[in-house]
Symmetry: C2
Subunit: 150 residues, 2 copies
């Protein structure tokens, strides 16, 4: 990625020489309509990355959990986030913290994209998807069951 | 700081239970009209912090350098950033990367505050101010001399 000291926004939520990537490289069907841009990578395995994700209207991220923390700030649009057993309504500039090994999923509202920053450690564990039993258990929870998509 | 999983923005660029702090604790005169809010601290000395700084109209940050990297995204307003020997005009959503041991200073335009995110390593070295000789050398550089404030 670019090592320039200034990277201008060229059009809304797109940046000079920052490619718009697939959300995940495995091409799975556990997410829908979402892109990824790596804004900063400090080049240190023990460091951090700042990524910008954008979920198209009605789309969603993978329902997953992992050891590493997600520190999220919404930049545009509205949506919802499942974190653990709670569903939060999201607006621009809201913050979301995903603790270790906590099920989470982001969803955009129907009308506009949901764009958010996410800080992670560069060296991090792979996300894990729910097993059939775990998914059944999440779906059986009246508070969150109707929300989850997998 | 708060360990909640959702931290709502309560008014523009202010967040629930996130205190608005002095920019620096030393109360120096090498900066002007700037506040700091720690949005995320992953609680790991080897991890990272996400901070939000806001420079009031006409204010500026300290002219300094250090080993740790700053990864910056402008969220509101306009201004300028000195990074090394370059001055960049800044607008919302622009990115600024400050490499190790690179002189840098941010300034807000007269008309509105300049607000920006900054990701840093939690465990980091202290910033260093220019010596008298270094400052004289920076001021003698026609490209950046008129910009620096110390």
């Amino acid at each position: 990625m670019s090592q320039k000291t200034h990277i201008a926004q060229t059009e809304p939520f797109r940046w000079e020489d920052v490619p718009v990537l697939a959300y995940k490289e495995d091409g799975g069907t556990h997410f829908r309509s979402i892109t990824r841009q790596v804004l900063f990578d400090d080049g240190d395995a023990a460091g951090s990355q700042l990524r910008y994700f954008e979920i198209a209207p009605g789309g969603h991220s993978t329902l997953e959990r992992h050891d590493h923390i997600h520190s999220v700030m919404v930049l545009r649009g509205c949506g919802q986030a499942l974190v653990g057993r709670e569903i939060h309504a999201l607006q621009a500039n809201d913050l979301v913290r995903v603790p270790p090994q906590t099920w989470h999923q982001f969803r955009a509202t129907a009308g506009e994209p949901l764009g958010f920053l996410c800080v992670v450690r560069t060296e991090r564990d792979k996300p894990r998807l729910p097993t059939v039993a775990e998914l059944a258990e999440l779906r059986a929870d009246g508070r969150i069951g109707p929300f989850v998509r997998a």
